[in-house]
Symmetry: C2
Subunit: 198 residues, 2 copies
């Protein structure tokens, strides 16, 4: 069989989502055959990210700088905050350049089943950002799941009395659907038709 | 959007076979969230392979040593040589531990269409290995394609007069099938039922 180093590379790739042992092996063969154009660039890219990986102290995004590129961008509208469960959701929305404001990543959703409580999420820091002023609108962009909507309601309650417009993504998201899997058209429509919370 | 470093990593992964831009993005998110258990191990594995990558001077396999682990393994039967088109085919056969002998990788197949001639493949070095003696059997494990079979016939002619038993994989391979895509059961059967050439 292949050497321990090559086997280790196959194993490391096979653990990525979307890659099984078989496709990892094909990917490694490709890397071995294209040392200069595939293996070396991938290795350098990983090193660069590894060296600078940081969680944004403001919004919870992961990036290669803190604050992240979005929080540091003066062209982004600081008066609108889009609250998402996961970094993947931020990426899904931002990839389509749908939202001109900034983000707040909770790091999950409230779940009795999984024992996730408010203090396990970045909710206090969200309230603090709003309380600090300068925010006009908070878009609650949770998944259209029971837990996502429970989380949205909890945050809506916590923000009661703050002078901000609370909105949520338009229904029209498929029930049980997760933001990160939706096409950009659906996301765009849901964002355009966002409406005040209750 | 994400930083240039993260975008570069997405691009590098998206170029791997089996990964598109979407799955590359999901893989990168996974790497960012699991720095110590996913990103760092993958980065170290790539570095280790990059530093030691070599093409075996004996058989043409790619490995982290030259001679490769197979050629250097004294337990492998040096009297049986399995000739394959590509390194991927060697891996496919060896992954299933089907063949106890050693290999010879041609680096392709003869093709009038693609202008691949005998001197473009590692055929002379195969003849030299056989001519050096100590080889009893040469298994021609080309793909069951027109070009694969043309290549097998060409090698059979070149080896005429050498005191070796020439065999080929049993038919039973699906017509047009490529070794690297077959399940291990099919490969095992084809190898077990291998038969003399002509
Ligand atoms: Zn940020
Ligand atoms: Zn070798």
């Amino acid at each position: 069989m292949a050497s321990p180093e090559i086997e280790a590379l196959v194993q490391a790739l096979a653990r990525l989502p979307g890659l099984g042992p078989r496709s990892a092996r094909r990917a490694v063969l490709h890397l071995l055959k294209k040392r200069e154009t595939a293996l070396v660039p991938l290795s350098r890219a990983l090193e660069a990210v590894e060296a600078r990986l940081a969680t944004c102290g403001i919004c919870g995004n992961v990036d290669t700088s803190d604050p992240c590129a979005i929080c540091a961008d003066p062209r982004r509208d600081a008066r609108a905050l889009c609250v998402v469960e996961e970094v993947a959701d931020l990426w899904a929305l931002d990839r389509a350049r749908l939202f001109p404001g900034r983000y707040h990543v909770l790091g999950g959703r409230l779940s009795a089943l999984d024992g996730v409580r408010p203090e396990d999420l970045r909710i206090d820091s969200l309230i603090a950002r709003v309380a600090a002023g300068g925010v006009d609108e908070v878009v609650l962009a949770m998944n259209a799941t029971l837990e996502g909507q429970t989380t949205a309601h909890y945050i809506a309650e916590r923000l009661e009395g703050h002078p901000v417009r609370l909105t949520q993504l338009a229904h029209g998201l498929p029930v049980g659907g997760e933001l990160d899997y939706l096409d950009e058209g659906t996301l765009a429509q849901a964002l355009r038709a966002r409406r005040p919370v209750m």
